[in-house]
Subunit: 324 residues, 2 copies
């Protein structure tokens, strides 16, 4: 049994090495590392009671290019609603947040705005001034004000990605920078990561031609990076991963498997159609159903969800300190 | 030769019928028809000299769902820069524009703004007012002012789509509404339309599972709707289509083929890397290279492009009137 696990982990390492070796180089990796280190220096005091906690929230879907000069790609649907709303509650709970988000997906404090806020919330007055429509005034002020307060106060660091390659490369940089935080670090992996990809080297350089009949494609599985992130890059951190499925039976089964296989501290199980009303937090102590509570005027399922996870993170920090 | 053409057209009709029959029903089709008819009533006076011209500009890429409850899809990359910038110049030239655009892609007058204008161009003052950063003030005023003037003046009708199904269904509604305009109608088909799709009926209902090895996919060709649009839906209109390729030799060959096969009035040939500097307008009278002219302070290749096409459209209207 142990041999099998060791072998499976070795295979994962090999697959991951080959994934990174064949990936296109990350643009401005040095700049990202500099931002991360500056942010963490400001936010993480030496480990003492009450030390600042930092959560890495990933948000939105990743893309898989089908051609090197990318015209076509496969996208994993995710608006980023979960990640951006959760970020607001983490900030409120006193966490510093590294928000690794898909370009164009929802931003914290902006989820209640229309699709195109600039054109839908503003107008030009007769005096040629820009003015917010009264109907959107509160939402716009909240979005700009709270967002900028978090960024300026250096409690929120935003890092964008588009492809699966960028996502995993930046996640590795984040893990390396956050390693010194030990149990005070949390990973809240809400991004919808592609399961399949086309290895960069075997990818068509030019646009795939459509002249002759149907298109047959073979996609390889993305190596399970979570295993290495959990065991090697951030062995002491607190880990939350997500499962999204359209079939409830498959969902809970897969969430339980992920909990065991990747040694997550909790897996948040989302069913596509009901996920804004209710999620199931799957842990080794059992499943906890979390619902949004309309009666109390609380509108997001993320509020009770983050409350629960912050509590569990406190217990994790306590446990880690007792083991030292 | 003629028999072969007839057969090919019949096959196209059959394929298109089966594509539409198997597509998911369009949401709020009646609402779209109502908007279209209201817009055209305001804009199209009975055909007389100087009658108002209407152009349908399509913009952005289409998506192809891989699952019925859509988690994964294939996307065709297109920012919508070409379509939105061209719309500005068409409006300037006195055209009314029906802008059929991909949700989230560029909007007219907004292409020079940052990715997230709300968060990057505004700030909250000490008096808790929303204020534009001075550095973005002109661009923001232009975007909101000119955009809203066009929409309020009913010179610009915006219709959003996401999937290939929605795109083609709405395009058919537009063509039906615009048919009475005859040669005064122009189609400027700048959207990047998917060549391949998964027929709705053969699509997985639940999320594709990733447990077991690589994923093999077979995609069918999207039927060539352009043939039916040109010959049947809008036989008198003026047609511009686009080709985007990463290889220049393939590009000009395919542009020429499209010109003949679909009887386009012009095909705009874009090479992926140079397309913002220069395009080639392929016509039966020969190829015309159009470049942006930095010396004159003109920053968009779309300005000379639209000037050229408006001229050619005038000639087309003149020809049509002489033939009556």
């Amino acid at each position: 049994m142990e041999n099998k696990a060791a072998t499976s982990e070795e295979t994962a390492f090999d697959e991951i090495k080959s994934f990174f070796d064949s990936a296109p180089p990350l643009k401005d990796g040095d700049g990202i590392v500099k931002k991360l280190n500056g942010f963490l220096e400001k936010n993480s005091l030496p480990t003492r009671i009450g030390s600042k906690r930092v959560v890495c929230v990933t948000s939105g879907g990743t893309t898989v290019p089908l051609e090197q000069r990318c015209v076509r790609f496969i996208d994993n649907f995710s608006s980023g609603h979960r990640g951006s709303t959760s970020t607001e509650y983490f900030l409120k709970a006193g966490y510093s947040v590294i928000f690794l988000y898909r370009r164009g997906s929802y931003q914290p404090y902006c989820t209640t705005l229309p699709d195109d806020p600039l054109l839908e919330c503003f107008e030009i007055t007769n005096e040629s001034d820009v003015q917010v429509h009264p109907s959107h005034s509160d939402a716009v002020k909240k979005a700009i004000g709270e967002h900028q307060a978090a960024v300026k106060g250096q409690n929120l660091l935003k890092l964008p990605y588009t492809t699966i390659f960028e996502y995993l490369q930046i996640l590795q940089l984040i893990a390396t920078s956050m390693k010194t935080l030990g149990p005070y670090a949390m990973y809240y992996l809400a991004a919808a990561v592609s399961d399949f990809y086309v290895p960069w080297e075997s990818m068509a350089i030019h646009k795939i031609q459509s002249a002759s009949g149907p298109l047959d494609m073979r996609l390889a599985q993305v190596p399970k990076m979570l295993l290495v992130l959990r065991n090697d890059w951030a062995p002491k951190a607190f880990f939350i991963s997500f499962k999204l499925e359209t079939d409830m039976d498959i969902l809970l089964k897969k969430a339980g498997n992920a909990l065991r296989k990747y040694k997550m501290h909790a897996v948040v199980a989302n069913e596509l159609l009901t996920r804004k009303e209710e999620v199931t937090v799957v842990t080794t102590d059992g499943n906890i159903s979390v619902r949004r509570d309309k009666a109390k005027g609380v509108t997001d399922v993320e509020r009770p969800l983050i409350e629960l996870l912050v509590e569990k993170h406190s217990a994790h920090i306590e446990d880690s300190r007792n083991q030292q």
